[in-house]
């Protein structure tokens, strides 16, 4: 099938946000899929040990029955359906059914506790709920008194439900039966309701768990999701032959884009794992071609691989390490668009046969054409590892308010430490304060029943991301920190402390670092050495030391850390935006930052304000021309007594680099 039949609504000259009115909602698109490829698999679920497949025709028919059943219960346009459970075809159908009737699905996290669930069900004014099993039914029944608008709870799995007599409960089977009867009396009802749907109608409300306050309901329209899904699918070259695994929570907008919106827009198949515990195994069986995982999962997979490699016998282990190193070299050159030497090319081909291929296959990544990571920063080394194996993992950037996607690293134009270039139709700009702003057809319609929050984040169509970043000289977007933590040097240069500190902490010798620079002439750093790593280093060089304080003030240690700082400076110099934020002076703290001294939190986050106050004398010295400073520090011992440490702290200068020094 060629692209014009695949996306009949796309012409070469259509604007990026144009939608064919006959295909501008999900129910209309599924109806098209059922006509175009009725026999093609749309969704699978592993049940009773077997992959049960449903075609696009089934997808459409099942959703239609559920919709008619809901209609029989009195579903009205604008009603909300709470959807709770693991990724199950039935729940995706319930989502489509709700949209077909002009309603809005509200997916909830399946592991939410009752209190969280109660807030969302009540706030969203859900009249209906379609849930997976008894566990979710129990939670909803317990909160029903506080959610007076909730009238009907439909459950899919009847297990354990035999003795439930509450009249608000209904099995999905019974609902479909109601639907069949309703269809006999109202044969045209479904088609009429679908035809009433418009691109601007709400397609979903996703509640985002804020770190502060109550969750906010992000309203996304059919246009938001369809245009975003389509534009990304087109740029990334997704076809109807992709295979994707639906294993991340349905309440998360990413799952909605990958497993629902893009699957429907492009017509590819989604597979639901048997249970949360079998995901990795099911992954191997399906062999997805298109895959998403947050950095945490990529890390876990790498760790499990490395543990198994280290458990292997010596020859095997050496072989793996050797070829992984070859792959790393080759990938580095590929990314830099440099030719790969013939020797390495031959070795890489051999490695493909011996290591990379079997490893990919073992991880269920043998068929991956396209994989994304997003959600938080991923270390370039980790990303590089998978890429060097031949798994095309790319960073994406986005948030619920942007229908999940703002930018993606583009094939053939990838820099490991950026989040790539904006998708078609997305405009990105950086505000005066360094915050990333964007405007796109995917930008949400506002927070449900919360106009104040909407006004705060959405200004003239520009979404305030809350992230600080910049666009580098190749047009790539780079996210450096949360905007509220970012400051400016006196000359106006952007200063992102966490970004610098993370770069410093990448060194095994540096345990903790605090960077200073907001409203200062240059960036300076307080560094905590890692006693274990630096101690071992000192022993190998026959450097004698008595204590942490003593070790930290050895001139050799100062030189060691200086090399690390210079390394960080060199990488900063590669970006014009960060060139001015190089670390000019630093000192090695005479004691470790400690939660008992309130310098860091129990979760090891530096308390900047407190540190700045406590070490004011040291900081003043950093910004003077002195080379030593005398300190007395009050320490709290673990038994609660206090004592003082006196030390002569050395202040070190570090060379800075000029533009492009790293190249």
């Amino acid at each position: 099938m060629d692209i014009t039949t695949r996306y009949p609504e796309t012409g070469t000259d259509r604007p990026v946000d144009a939608l064919d009115p006959s295909l501008d909602t999900f129910p209309k698109l599924v109806e098209r899929n059922a006509r175009h490829f009725p026999r093609k698999v749309a969704i699978r679920e592993k049940d009773y040990g077997i992959w049960q497949s449903y075609t696009w025709r089934d997808y459409f028919e099942q959703s239609r029955l559920i919709a008619l059943g809901l209609a029989a219960l009195g579903f009205a346009r604008g009603d909300k359906t709470a959807i709770v459970g693991d990724n199950r075809p039935q729940l995706y159908w319930a989502m489509l059914a709700t949209q077909a009737l002009g309603g809005v699905p509200v997916p909830l996290y399946q592991d939410s506790i009752e209190k969280e669930m109660q807030y969302i069900v009540d706030h969203a004014e859900a009249r209906f709920a379609v849930v997976e099993d008894q566990e979710q039914v129990d939670k909803l029944l317990n909160i029903r008194e506080q959610c007076p608008r909730l009238e009907h709870i439909v459950y899919d799995d009847p297990r354990g439900m035999r003795h439930y007599k509450d009249p608000c409960l209904l099995s999905l089977e019974a609902l479909e039966e109601l639907g069949r009867k309703f269809a006999q009396d109202h044969p045209a009802y479904f088609d009429e309701e679908v035809a009433k749907g418009k691109a601007g109608d709400l397609a979903i409300i996703c509640y985002t768990s804020g770190t502060t306050g109550q969750p906010k309901g992000t309203m996304l329209s059919h246009r938001n999701l369809i245009v975003t899904a389509r534009n990304a699918a087109e740029r990334e070259g997704l076809s109807e032959d992709e295979e994707v695994m639906a294993y991340l929570p349905m309440a998360w907008v990413g799952d909605n884009i990958f497993s629902y919106a893009q699957s429907i827009v492009a017509g590819f198949a989604t597979s639901c794992p048997e249970s949360a515990a079998t995901v990795l195994h099911d992954l191997r069986e399906i062999g997805p071609t298109y895959f998403f995982a947050p950095p945490r999962i990529w890390e876990n997979i790498l760790t499990s691989v490395m543990i198994r490699v280290d458990d292997a016998w010596a020859l095997k282990r050496r072989m793996v390490h050797f070829f992984l190193e070859v792959a790393r070299r080759v990938e580095q050159r590929r990314l830099a668009h440099q030719p790969v030497p013939v020797g390495d090319r031959l070795l890489y081909a051999l490695g493909q046969l011996l290591v990379y291929g079997p490893l990919r296959d073992n991880l269920g990544m043998g068929r991956i054409r396209l994989a994304y990571t997003a959600g938080e920063a991923i270390s370039p080394e980790l990303l590089g590892f998978y890429r060097s194996l031949g798994v095309n993992v790319k960073q994406a950037y986005g948030m619920t308010e942007s229908s999940a996607l703002v930018s993606i690293q583009k094939d053939g134009d990838i820099k490991l430490d950026t989040v790539g270039t904006p998708l078609p139709g997305v405009e990105v700009r950086i505000s005066e304060s360094g915050e990333v702003l964007y405007r796109s057809p995917g930008v949400f319609r506002g927070y449900y029943k919360n106009p104040d929050a909407t006004r705060e984040t959405l200004e003239d169509g520009w979404m305030h991301s809350g992230d600080a970043g910049f666009i580098d000289r190749d047009g790539h977007l780079k996210i450096i920190d949360r905007a509220k933590d970012v400051g400016r040097l006196q000359d106006g240069t952007l200063f992102a402390p966490k970004y610098l500190e993370n770069k410093l902490k990448f060194s095994a010798h540096i345990k903790e670092a605090v960077c200073l620079g907001h409203e200062r002439p240059f960036v300076a750093a307080l560094v905590n050495i890692d006693l274990g790593a630096v101690g071992a280093w000192a022993e190998r060089r026959n450097i004698a030391y008595t204590s942490y304080t003593d070790l930290s003030q050895k001139p050799e240690v100062c030189d060691l850390i200086r090399q690390e700082v210079v390394r960080v400076n060199r990488s900063l110099a590669e970006d014009e935006q960060l060139l001015g934020a190089q670390i000019r002076r630093f000192l090695l703290l005479h004691k470790e930052l400690d939660a008992d001294d309130q310098e860091i939190t129990r979760t090891r986050k530096v308390r900047r304000g407190f540190v700045a106050q406590k070490y004011a004398a040291l900081i003043d010295a950093l910004y003077s021309d002195r080379e030593h400073v005398q300190v007395e520090a009050l320490v709290t011992y673990e038994d609660g007594r206090t004592g003082t440490i006196r030390a002569d702290v050395r202040i070190c200068d570090a060379e800075t680099s000029v533009v492009g020094a790293g190249r």
Binding site: Y48, G49, S275, T278, H281
Partner: protein
């Protein structure tokens, strides 16, 4: 069949005694398990609980008394005959085939239901194949029911103890028993595993209508899920009744807490 036998208890144990040499394991113990009941047999260590289960499942034979199942005397039946009657059991110390996968272990529970010819089975054709698929489908239902999908292909020996117990339950269920005998299904489990097991036992009872007799050491667990409780001490039945009645019974309290000797 008329309705009359249905009114009789499914299992009647009538005055049985078992001895090992000079040791009297059971002395004239009588009890009944009605259709659709969950009956717990409790008692301190060495009370004869497991002996009673072993008598019912045909491992031991009493020197006096008789056992009726479904109204018919089957006191002297051998274990395989007992299994064919519709009684399945689990063991106090898990007795799985360690070198086989969970799936294969559960499939062995279907053996009594299989009718086959050696040749056809070996060739895996025709009726043999159809039969295997039908049994596999049934076993998959049990795997789904007991939520052990993730370990379907894992060797039994590699499983933690709590899961092995669950697999044993699955194997017993695969035989589609009328009466399920569980010998200390919760021994050696932590609180959470015990709660899970309780839920599974109640669900089995609910979904399949299986009659269950279980032996348990831990009184508190049993009291919540049984319809009736039988208490043994030194091979004799010392109490019987609803959990509440048994809990208040002075003989039971003495047996569990000990009586001071003068």
């Amino acid at each position: 069949m008329t309705d009359a036998p249905a009114a009789r208890p499914l299992l009647e144990v009538d005055g049985i005694s078992v001895a090992f040499g000079a040791v009297q394991a059971l002395q004239r113990v009588s009890m009944e398990v009605g259709r659709g009941e969950i009956v717990a047999i409790i008692g301190p260590n060495g009370a004869g609980k497991t002996s009673l289960i072993n008598v019912v499942s045909g491992f031991y034979h009493p020197y006096e008394g008789r056992i009726l199942f479904d109204g018919q005397n089957r006191t002297d039946f051998k274990p395989y005959d007992v299994a064919a009657l519709g009684i399945a059991r689990t063991f106090q110390n898990v007795a799985l085939f360690k070198g086989m996968t969970v799936l294969d272990n559960i499939m062995t529970g279907r053996l009594l239901k299989m009718r086959g010819s050696f040749v056809l089975d070996a060739l895996y054709v025709g009726p043999a194949k159809r039969q295997e698929l039908a049994h596999r489908a049934f076993v998959e239902k049990i795997i789904d029911f007991l939520e052990i999908q993730a370990i379907r292909k894992t060797l039994a020996a590699r499983l933690p103890y709590g899961l092995q117990k669950r697999v044993e339950l699955a194997r017993a269920l695969a035989a589609e028993p009328d009466l399920l005998l569980l010998d200390e299904p919760m021994a050696g489990m932590n609180i959470e595993e015990k709660e899970d097991m309780c839920r599974f036992i109640l669900d089995v009872h609910d979904e399949f209508g299986t009659t269950i007799a279980l032996v348990e050491h831990d009184m508190s667990v049993v009291m919540d899920i049984s319809d009736r409780v039988v208490v043994l001490d030194y091979g004799r039945k010392i109490a019987e009744g609803t959990p509440d009645e048994v809990r208040k019974d002075p003989a039971v309290i003495d047996a569990y807490l000990g009586v001071p000797h003068e």
